[in-house]
């Protein structure tokens, strides 16, 4: 069964096509990498899947039901969305912010119960936020902030996690940490769509890649099938260095995390 399925999705803004007839599918336990140059429509596609914007054309279905038939709350329980920039309006504590991720599961004014608490504690431990839990969000470093907003999305326990460049502001070690967290989310039978600019990271962690170019899908499939010299040239206007090709595969990460 397809967890998420979009057919010929199109979005126009002020008469200009942003996305044209994009198909996308996501299976259970899958990590799909959305790649493509700036302005290719990756973020628009993600926002569309998150329900933040609506498609001008095309059909989007969640677990084989049309999204239009699902309430905001139900969708919010199943899909969590992590935007590129997280602007937090108030200097709330890490703990409180993470707790807000449970809201889709709570009635108005209902406080998180013991079960919610257990989930929150587990996620705080997994994202290494224990030392910062009482600190205000605005006093944290960029890497810590990225982990807080990721934790907020994880406590929702969504079937689908949509992450827009979650590692772009992070150092290599924290990049690996975040990608590992996303992989673990998939291993639990849930799925992730992640927008990435780092092709090596994308090739290493994602089960499948979808390459967007000028609002349309240029290629979709395994890293080897998508990151061909021809596709890289068309989409990014780059070529892989000969030396890199000989010494190490461009699809393999040149480093690993030390514990």
């Amino acid at each position: 069964m397809n967890l998420l399925r979009g057919e010929s999705l199109s979005v126009n803004r002020q008469g200009r096509p942003i996305l044209t007839a994009v198909d996308i599918t996501l299976k259970c336990g899958e990590m799909l990498g959305l790649i493509g140059p700036n302005g290719a429509g990756k973020s628009t596609l993600l926002r569309l899947l998150a329900g933040v914007i609506e498609a001008d054309e095309g059909i989007l279905s969640l677990e084989d039901n049309p999204v239009s038939a699902i309430t905001h709350r139900e969708r919010a329980r199943r899909i969590a969305y992590l935007p590129q920039l997280s602007e937090i309006a108030w200097p709330m504590s890490v703990e409180r912010l993470v707790e807000l991720g449970r809201i889709p599961h709570l009635d108005p004014w209902q406080h998180p119960g013991p079960q919610d608490r257990a989930i929150i504690e587990r996620v705080i431990a997994r994202t290494d936020l224990q030392p910062f839990r009482r600190r205000a969000f605005n006093t944290l470093s960029g890497g810590e902030q990225a982990r807080v907003v990721l934790a907020r999305a994880l406590v929702t326990e969504p079937n689908i996690l949509l992450a827009d460049e979650p590692v772009s502001a992070l150092d290599p070690a924290h990049q690996l940490d975040v990608m590992t967290l996303l992989s673990e989310h998939c291993q639990a039978g849930q799925s992730v769509i992640v927008v990435l600019h780092d092709l090596s990271l994308a090739a290493h962690y994602c089960h499948r890649l979808q390459l967007l170019h000028q609002g349309a899908t240029l290629a979709v499939g395994s890293a080897e099938a998508v990151l061909t010299p021809g596709n890289l040239k068309t989409a990014y206007a780059i070529a892989i260095n000969q030396t890199a090709e000989e010494t190490l595969s461009p699809f393999r990460l040149p480093w690993r995390r030390l514990s």
């Binding site: 919010a76 935007p83 937090i88 709330m92 912010l97 406080h111």
Partner: protein, 333 residues
């Protein structure tokens, strides 16, 4: 757990302070009244001057201060959370200036002299119309900046019309009447004003009720809030109407009372861990407390006539506003 406890402690402390200040307000005035005797007179239905002062003057004045203050405090908390801006005030969506215009129109055309309820009704209608204009100008799916700009435009226009009416006022007496009303006062409220204030206030409070979660979600920004299940167009619609009803009713009865809606939520926010939903009830209580206190202060100030309560709140509020800006500047640098 600890956080929840301290939250109820804050609400309890504020409630007790409000109750105590309300008692004080009943006892404060140019005529000292023996409370027990006044109570006995009003409950036994025997006509006595103490009973009359208590039930016809002090009690309505105290209750109006309580309700109007609570509406201003709550309105400030709602608007600041909705616009994600600590400098937003409930008047931003046009309710206060619209109410002022509506009330001034009734004063100008002498309707207020013809029947007593014309003024507050005109105020509420003005508030609703101004808020509707902001809402229509900004559009259903407007961003925060568009909302603020539309609010600024409508406010400016309403105040320009108020100035025009002052300018064209037929007699110095009318000018004075309008100007004094604009200053904001609780001195002349009676039971009639209380009945005018009550329905809009309660309806607005009910509408704001249960919107706390959506305001919490807005902490993450509009798009994330939408992805987490918040229905933003509906939220905006409800809060606009809620603020128009509550603040519009309050301003219609009391005149313009500034800075309570701005200052109270800002002062209380750190005490609730900056969480928007937890700010609502304390802000309402804090607004009631501040207006009750200010209204007691004006009754105690030795002055010819009475200093208007709106003047006192603005006198305290404006320097505080300045201090906020300086604090913000320090934090940035």
């Amino acid at each position: 757990m600890i956080a929840a406890q301290s939250r109820y402690r804050l609400i309890l402390a504020l409630s007790l302070s409000v109750a105590f200040t309300a008692m004080l307000s009943l006892l404060t005035g140019s005529q000292a009244i023996p409370l027990l005797q006044a109570l006995r007179q009003s409950f036994d239905g025997e006509s006595g001057v103490y009973g009359l002062i208590l039930t016809e003057l002090r009690l309505p004045r105290t209750l109006v201060a309580l309700l109007a203050g609570a509406s201003l405090g709550l309105g400030g908390a709602l608007m600041q959370s909705l616009l994600r801006n600590p400098l937003a005030s409930p008047g931003l969506v046009g309710s206060a200036s619209g109410a002022a215009l509506g009330a001034v129109v009734t004063l100008y055309f002498g309707l207020a002299g013809m029947f007593a309820l014309a003024l507050p009704i005109g105020g509420i209608v003005g508030a609703l119309l101004a808020t509707l204009m902001v809402y229509l100008l900004a559009g259903r799916d407007a961003g925060i900046l568009t909302l603020i700009l539309a609010g600024v435009a409508v406010n400016a226009f309403a105040l320009a019309l108020v100035s025009l009416l002052l300018n064209l006022a037929p007699s110095p007496y009318a000018v004075q009447e309008i100007a004094l009303w604009m200053l904001g006062s609780l001195a002349n409220v009676s039971r009639n004003e209380l009945w005018i204030l009550l329905p809009g206030t309660l309806a607005g409070w009910l509408m704001a009720w249960r919107q706390g979660r959506a305001l919490d979600l807005l902490t993450f920004g509009e798009e994330t809030a939408a992805s987490m299940g918040a229905d933003l167009p509906r939220l905006r619609q409800r809060l606009f109407l809620a603020v128009a009803l509550t603040v519009g009713s309050a301003v219609s009865v009391t005149g313009a009372i500034g800075f309570i809606g701005l200052v109270v939520p800002h002062l209380l926010r750190p005490l609730v861990g900056y969480q928007p939903s937890r700010l609502l009830i304390p802000s309402a209580l804090g607004g009631a407390l501040l207006l009750l206190t200010a209204d007691i202060v004006v009754r105690l100030l030795p002055a010819q006539g009475e200093i208007k309560v709106g003047v006192v709140t603005s006198l305290i509020g404006a320097p505080f506003f300045l201090w906020l800006i300086l604090q913000g500047k320090r934090r940035v640098t």
